[in-house]
């Protein structure tokens, strides 16, 4: 297979296949995804120690560049960077709609002048992290913390880690993603990861107005009736219903949505008795999930948060590692040429 400009991997991977940016799961193979999960397992163990810190990124500067508000994702990225011993700068930038392109470039130039080693980027526009990775100084790693409707790869990977912890693997698993698939970058990354890791069945359950066109082409089946969709499930992933979508006439009412697509104890009873319940948070109790389910024995929602730190540590350490290894390789080559 030849690399082309449309493939994200000429950007994401070094010549020998190591991660150097983490922008999307597209094009990343099962082996690399499994490496990320395995590395995260080791970081989970670090999180259980008296001193929850390792020296990997000591002396390096990580900038959390959030053009879109986020509490959980930003704080887990911050904690992850700190547990890797990096210095962390948090920047919340409210974009004005008129000057996005230009202000992004200028912001980056300024931050690069501060000798940053890594940017963790969240942006409302799909492709922003990709754009930054293309223009950034060599040696600086870019991590996508969610871009538009495109991708949220660390969220998907922490979900995969949670599934693997509870189910042992992916083979033969029946997984459903329920709710607003249309606006969800999380769902897109999850479907991609589940397919690559070999899940048995991936269902999306949603009303037609909240499904992207050709959603099946992502590698999943569609179910409009949640009662049918819940049957025999091993994993159910609920998505947050963004209230602003109500105003766009995509949904009749919260109450109606809850009746049809909310995860209640009755609906959960239709799934496999060991089915785990996941949610990327923040949860809207009584809108997409019943409190008794969110707090119930099958819920692994808080495990997801803990795993989020470990996954982000893994991705940051691997991407920084790829960057430094590549830089060293280039220096070696230059030296050899100089000697020749």
């Amino acid at each position: 297979m030849t690399e082309n400009a449309a493939s994200p991997n000429h950007l994401q991977l070094t010549r020998d296949g190591q991660l150097r940016h983490f922008l999307t799961l597209d094009g990343l193979g099962r082996e690399l995804l499994t490496d990320i999960l395995d590395t995260a397992d080791s970081f989970i163990e670090v999180g259980e120690r008296t001193i929850k810190k390792v020296p990997l990124l000591r002396g390096r500067t990580v900038v959390n560049l959030f053009f879109e508000a986020s509490t959980r994702t930003r704080s887990t990225f911050e904690l992850a960077a700190k547990r890797l011993s990096a210095d962390v700068l948090n920047l919340d930038i409210n974009t004005s709609a008129t000057s996005k392109g230009e202000s992004l470039s200028d912001t980056l130039l300024n931050l690069e002048a501060m000798a940053s080693d890594m940017f963790v980027v969240r942006h409302a526009q799909s492709g922003a992290p990709h754009f930054i990775a293309e223009s950034v100084t060599p040696g600086v790693a870019i991590i996508n913390a969610g871009d538009g409707r495109h991708a949220h790869p660390t969220q998907a990977m922490l979900d995969m880690l949670t599934i693997r912890q509870h189910k042992g693997g992916f083979e033969g698993l029946k997984v459903a993603i329920v709710g607003d698939i249309l606006h969800s970058r999380v769902a897109r990354s999850q479907i991609r990861a589940l397919n690559e890791l070999g899940a048995g069945q991936i269902r999306v359950i949603a009303p037609g107005t909240l499904l992207p066109r050709d959603v099946e082409s992502l590698g999943c089946t569609v179910e409009y009736d949640m009662g049918k969709g819940m049957k025999d499930l091993d994993v159910v992933i609920m998505l947050r219903l963004q209230k602003e979508r109500m105003e766009g006439a995509l949904l009749p009412s919260e109450r109606e949505f809850y009746r049809l697509y909310g995860l209640s104890q009755e609906k959960l009873a239709l799934a496999h008795p060991q089915c785990i319940v996941m949610h990327p948070g923040p949860i809207n109790r009584g809108v997409e999930i019943e409190s008794a389910v969110a707090d119930g024995p099958q819920s692994v929602i808080l495990n997801q948060v803990t795993n989020g730190i470990a996954i982000r540590m893994a991705v940051m350490a691997m991407a920084m590692g790829g960057q430094v290894a590549e830089r060293q390789q280039k220096m070696n080559e230059l030296n050899e040429r100089g000697q020749a």
Partner: protein, 169 residues
Amino acid sequence: MSTLLDVEQLLDTLETGMRRLIEERGIESPLVIGIRTGGVWVADILGKRLGIEEPFGELDISFYRDDFSRIGLNPRVTPSSLPFDTEGRNIILVDDVIMSGRTIRAAMNEIFDYGRPARIILAALIDLGARELPIRPDVAGQSLELNAGQRVKLRGPDPLRIEFQEAGH
């Protein structure tokens, strides 16, 4: 050349040396921690021979290596496992081969992130010299000088054997 070193003999020397050290220094109820991969195999055997009943610990020092800036992260890192509280305890740190001393430095940094041990003593099956740091084993199975380009590796776990390699392969 692989018949040059008898693993059993080295283990005997290591055990005898360690028993003497434990007695001389009056080291009470020591714990054993091995460094992956070879050090863990040796730690397992040494712990049993010394009659230590607590399970041995396993360290993966990948997150503590000092060459991250040159080679990046080891892709095959596995979780460290210390199934005991190290605070205030006497620890026998075990590796298969000691050379530069950098692995031991990394391992000691990692151990201290679990708590403050009373003492760490170092056991190595083979001591190759060529130290780059002021670290030395308290007990070694065998000291050895290699020719330029020669390497030595412990293979295992069952049976354990010592393998010599010449440069290039």
